[in-house]
């Protein structure tokens, strides 16, 4: 009943086992599937992305082109509570991220199944996407993505820059 998992394109070890069993999972998301090939041919270039978590704390990380924000949060162990509960399978909205409008407008078109999950997300905005469905590209260098802010925790904004 479910759309086959998109974890075939994830580089995180958690999903690698599954990917090894089914390296060419057919994905009903159409043109997005080319991401698998893009990952293989990526130039390994690093893209600077700023993550602002639910408490307003900013972390700046270098991301490999082709990874998703979900991959990054897991790999770099960013402090975002409960991020990516379903590990990239379009079954929740816990990797909900708010993009800058200029970036959002240039992202690949969203499919119904992603909108279905976003509809359930807390703090939905016009520039919201699921972090497991977006592929980081070099033109996104320097972008900031925001996790929806918690209602009752706005104290102390700090900056933490982590190295690659």
């Amino acid at each position: 009943m479910r759309i086959p998992a998109r974890d075939h394109k994830s580089t995180s070890c958690r999903t690698r086992a599954r990917r090894d069993i089914l390296p060419f999972l057919r994905c009903d998301l159409g043109p997005r599937h080319e991401c698998l090939y893009r990952e293989k041919h990526s130039s390994d270039s690093k893209v600077l992305v700023h993550f602002v978590n639910q408490s307003g704390v900013k972390s700046s990380v270098f991301v490999t082109e082709g990874e998703t924000p979900l991959d990054v949060v897991i790999k770099k162990n960013l402090d975002i509570s409960g991020f990516g509960a379903r590990e990239g399978t379009l079954a929740c909205s816990t990797c909900h991220l708010i993009f800058e409008e200029s970036v959002y407008d240039k992202l690949e078109p969203i499919v119904d199944e992603e909108v279905d999950m976003l509809d359930l997300a807390y703090g939905l905005t016009k520039t919201s996407r699921l972090g497991c469905q977006v592929s980081v590209e070099h033109w996104m260098d320097g972008m900031t993505v925001n996790v929806p802010q918690e209602i009752n925790d706005q104290q102390g904004k700090q900056e933490a820059v982590s190295s690659k």
Binding site: M1, R2, D79, I80, G82, A85, R86, S93, D119, D153
Partner: protein, 471 residues
């Protein structure tokens, strides 16, 4: 593997000797009652600052993730990976097969720990409260779902699936899950973790038509769009809706917020397009109808139909109410499933309980009038919401508890014995605890049995057998 919840700061501190002296003999100790999503998510957040012990009634962990999520939604169960990491954390221990309220009391737990969190969910269900509800052929959705998901207490359910029409009361995601499992082609289920006896029963099922009935109208339907979309796309089925139920809906669309609008548009598409006429099976939503009586067959021995009262809507917006019109409608059916809500029950007289709302009365997770006692998940908020809702709620309770620790509201100067004391107590009472490493043996056995049947796993259905495997 790292848990996302651990901040780099607290990890560093832990490595250097601990926040608040988190060595094994001192430091805050918290006990969590309930090993489902609420329990695990609360534990995950607390582990930064405390040692956490989780007590679970069954030998096996994960609660509704294991017993509630539909077998054809395996990706929803991915959270088990993060829960497993939590259980394996050095400051966390899982104790299965412990019935809190019977094997050990809440007061005994409160003596052994600095704080206790109630996360035991909702194991009861709301009854329809109508005549005939106890006739054979009528089931709660909780029991029906428990049956196909291998909950030990539902293994003898044996629902009779030899009737053509099934009626489900309630239109939430659980109702749609039940409808989908009843009508899905067996090929779609046979590799999942559905129990073998349920699979065989469904393979021989004569159910061809499922009606999903709600008190109010299309704009009040409680399910979410993903589940409705799965019904619309279900192979070899067509949608059988009543256009009359949708009068005036098209005009209301433009004012709806996006999620409600998309859901309504999908329903209207199903009304218009129906589906393949050659399809053998059909499903339909029926609105403005409340059950008033289960009708027995000629032999008076089992359910043969259901009498529905027709409603009209009064009020507007969030407070739309269904009111009776006096009209009635009888539907012939042999299987009736009531999916109108789960319900929490009190497990210990020492804990305040609100019988009207069926929750533990609390203020942001702090149990009313009881210092050091907290709650998270359905027992705190009521039995609604998806796992992500429970996750956020559990994080909130954990945060409140940590705030209380930092504000000195919990007396952390006293050392508490924690699991050491409770384990000793349970031993004298002859209770056999199941540790997480022992659950892993049960897990391995289930996967092994599943493999031989071409399935993700074959769940053990019997508590005694689980205990045997856990040795």
């Amino acid at each position: 593997m790292k848990i996302h919840g651990l901040s780099s700061a607290s990890r560093c501190l832990a490595a250097e000797g601990g926040v608040r002296g988190l060595s094994s003999s001192s430091g805050p100790r918290v006990c969590i009652v309930g090993g489902g999503p609420a329990g695990f998510y609360t534990a995950q957040q607390l582990l930064k600052d405390a040692a956490v012990d989780i007590y679970e009634r069954l030998p096996v962990p994960f609660g509704l993730v294991r017993f509630g999520v539909a077998p054809d939604h395996p990706e929803v169960k991915n959270v088990i990976n993060t829960f497993t990491q939590t259980a394996q954390h050095e400051r966390c221990s899982f104790h299965g097969n412990v019935n809190v309220g019977k094997d050990v009391t809440i007061d005994e737990l409160r003596q052994a720990y600095h704080a206790v969190v109630l996360s035991y969910g909702a194991e009861g269900n709301r009854s329809m409260g109508i005549p005939g509800e106890d006739l054979p052929g009528v089931f709660s959705a909780k029991d029906f779902v428990g049956w196909y998901n291998g909950l030990p207490s539902n293994k003898e359910l044996h629902p009779d699936l030899s009737f053509e029409t099934a009626v489900i009361l309630g239109q939430g995601n659980v109702a749609l899950d039940v409808a989908r499992i009843l009508l899905a082609p067996v090929e779609m289920l046979k590799e999942t973790d559905i129990t073998q006896n349920a699979l065989e029963a469904l393979a021989g099922s004569k159910v061809r038509r499922v009606l999903i009935v709600g008190r109010r109208g299309p704009l009040q339907i409680a399910c979410t769009i993903k589940e409705l979309r799965e019904m619309v796309n279900l192979p070899n089925t067509r949608a059988d809706m009543l256009p009359a139920d949708f009068e005036g809906i098209a005009e209301a669309l433009k004012d709806l917020p996006r999620p409600r609008k998309r859901l309504t548009e999908l329903m209207m598409k199903a009304v218009k397009e129906g589906g393949d006429d050659k399809a053998e099976k059909c499903w339909g939503l029926r609105f403005f109808r409340s059950p008033v009586e289960v009708l027995a067959g000629a032999d008076e021995k089992r359910a043969a139909g259901i009498r529905l009262a027709l409603n009209k809507l009064e009020g507007s917006g969030e407070s739309v109410r269904a009111e009776v019109t006096g009209q009635l409608e009888d539907v012939d059916c042999g299987l009736i499933i009531s999916s109108i809500g789960y319900k929490s029950i009190p497990i210990d007289p020492a804990v305040p309980f609100d019988p009207r709302r069926a929750i533990v009365p609390n203020e942001m997770g702090r149990v009313q009038d009881t210092a050091g006692l907290y709650c998270s998940g359905w027992v705190k908020r009521g039995p609604t919401g998806v796992i992500a809702t429970t996750m956020n709620d559990s994080f909130d309770t954990a945060r409140v508890l940590i705030q209380d620790m930092e504000a000195g509201k919990l007396d952390l100067s006293v050392n508490k014995p924690g699991a050491q004391a409770i384990t000793a107590l349970l031993q004298t009472r002859g209770v056999r605890m199941v540790l997480f490493s022992q659950w892993e043996k049960i897990n391995a056995e289930e996967e092994k049995r599943g493999k031989s049947l071409g399935k993700a796993r074959e769940k053990l259905l019997d508590v005694d057998e689980m205990l045997c495997r856990a040795k």
